[in-house]
Amino acid sequence: MSELRGRLASWDSAIIGVTVLVLIGASIGVENFGNSSNFTFLILDLLPIALIALPMTMIVITGEIDLSVASTLGLTSAIMGDLWNRGLTIETIMPLCVLAGALLGAVNGFLINRLGLPSLAVTIGTLALYRGLALVVLGDAAVADFPWTYTGWVTGTIGGAVPNVLIILVVLAVIAGVVLHATPFGRSLFAIGANDQAARFSGINVTRTKFWLYVVSGAVAGLAGVLWTLRYSSARADNGAGLELAVVAAVLLGGVSIFGGKGSLWGVLSGVLLLAALQNALRLQDVSGQALNIVTGVLLIASVLLPNIITGTRNALQKRRLRAAVPAQSS
């Protein structure tokens, strides 16, 4: 067990190390990477990914997955545009959107936990369903005339460098970190991921726990939808399409095991930062946005493949060492 923890710690610290190296390297090697306005853009770009990654970390730790998050973001964005067109005040719309996200998450949670359907298949279904509903709500129109007080605040900064929205991210990240790593609830998530039957027998209400994780995941995706809409001052049905890849990639890159039971929030946050920094630096080097997906895709696979290879070689070496040791003892 301690060996396992050591290996985990090393993957976490390796990712943090790589992230720091990439940040330093890009600041020196890539023009404009280090200046303050680029830093603002970097944070604004990674904000939705980081926000959604918080509950996604917990879901993956319990051994499940939620691929519908980007579509939830798109649907809440479409709802936001529609309600704004209907003349509701923005102060009413924003909490309603977060609530709508929570409801969409509850639908996932119900299908997965009450009916016992596999989360992968269900959330592929709701990925299509929610995006489709977003199209039904808003069609291919865009709503753009949101009040400047809010759009300005989302893109604004404190002292010219630190974006206002970073406050939201830090507050939610601290809450998520404390819940995951310092409460019995957080420990129960690891227990469920390691062995959900054992968790059930030790008195954890697995069904209810997972259900609420999906509700939170939906609500946070709804919040990300609101912030996305305000940032670009544009409510569109296709907002955030494909974002689920970046979130899953960041979570796995951050050392969370896709098989459940292992992972840490700081690993995931550095995974998010690493991905965003790489993309940002490459974009500054004029690599096209779509081609950047190669990087994300390859990193996603590598983040699961590399630990497997490392464990595999370590086990093989150990076996060979043991085999070599046995005849030496018997002679």
Binding site: L120, L129, G132, Q290, N293, I294, L300
Partner: protein, 343 residues
């Protein structure tokens, strides 16, 4: 779908019949849903059954059915291949570009090229899944973006248009053999070929066994490594073939061709009665699923219902179909238990 469930429900009282019968019932459900939908639409709008309309529906089904056959093989093995839309795009762009520069190349060469590109993409997926021990979801989600990114970095913003590719290449998808479009013949041949392979040949039965229980299959001496590769190569190659058909049908191809197509394919397979838990379902069921999805799309257009509903319906159908599978599985388990307790 509800039809399938009630059929199964009736089955429940007669637990003596074979399991195969139950799954045949599942496809009967799709056929009934299809008949009901066509009848309803035709009554409201008679031109829905005109020969041109039927031809369009069959042409639109063909490519989806080819990809769904490959996906069904992978899903039966208890994996998934989300990269098929990107493989289709890569193959379509590659074939269109090659044909653009070599106007005299025969159609066979184009088909071989598409199949080859798809097969290579499939080998990469399969090798990462089996030898890398990475879940298929992660691998194919990654390669879905990687293959798409590859196409984008190759194509950039440019596209190949219909007047740049050779005439015979375009004629292929739009010409008939005895009144049946070539595209439809190819799709039927693929369904029949893969279907027979899965139903009657050793490799097919082994893939079902792997999907039912990977561990038991391994203990029974089934070559898991080779079979996993075969499953992903079939899916990849058929997606590559789909790319050639796509390029031939539409003529104009850019880097975004087939973007998001994987959802339709997964929906066709799952709606067609291939269980996401692996180990059950048929290829012709997946083909029926593809037909049902296409008919829904056309029916919406003919009935003048907002086109934007289509994707939402696809999503709802996926969720419904998974739910129906679950119900079937629970009922079968219960009836088996009942039967065993009698013995």
């Amino acid at each position: 779908m509800s039809v399938a469930v009630t059929e199964i429900h009736k089955q429940d009282q007669k637990p003596g019949r074979s399991l195969g019968y139950v799954f045949r019932q599942r496809e009967m459900g799709i056929v009934l849903a299809l008949v009901a939908l066509v009848a309803y639409t035709a009554i409201n709008q008679s031109r829905f059954l005109s020969s041109q309309s039927i031809r369009d529906i069959l042409l639109n089904t063909a490519i989806l059915a080819v990809l769904a056959s490959g996906m069904a093989v992978v899903v039966i093995t208890r994996h998934i291949d989300l990269s098929v839309g990107s493989v289709l795009g890569l193959s379509a762009f590659a074939v269109a570009t090659v044909m653009q520069h070599n106007q005299d190349l025969p159609m066979v060469a184009a088909l071989a090229l598409g199949l080859g590109i798809g097969a290579v993409a499939g080998v990469v997926n399969g090798a990462l899944v089996h030898f890398g021990n990475v879940p298929a979801l992660v691998v194919t989600l990654g390669t879905m973006y990687a293959y798409r990114g590859l196409t984008y970095s190759w194509a950039g913003g440019q596209q190949v248009t219909a007047d740049e590719v050779p005439r015979h290449f375009l004629r292929f998808a739009n010409s008939d053999l005895l009144g049946v479009p070539w595209l439809v013949i190819i799709a039927l041949a693929v369904i029949a070929g893969v279907g027979v392979m899965m139903r009657n040949y050793r490799i097919g039965r082994e893939l079902y066994a792997m999907g039912s229980s990977p561990q038991a299959a391994g203990l029974a001496g089934i070559k898991i490594a080779r079979n996993t590769l075969v499953a992903f190569v079939i899916s990849g190659a058929l997606a590559g073939l789909g790319g050639v058909l796509y390029a031939s049908r539409f003529g104009t191809v850019d880097a975004a061709s087939g973007n998001g197509y994987e959802l339709q394919v997964v929906a066709a397979v799952v709606v067609g009665g291939v269980a996401v838990f692996g180990g059950s379902g048929t290829i012709w069921g997946a083909g029926l699923g593809a037909l049902l999805l296409t008919v829904i799309g056309s029916a919406l257009a003919v009935l003048d219902i907002n086109q934007f509903w289509q994707q939402a319906i696809v999503g709802a159908l996926i969720v419904l179909a998974i739910g129906a599978d679950r119900l079937v599985a629970v009922r079968i388990a219960r009836s088996l238990r009942k039967r065993d307790s009698h013995v």
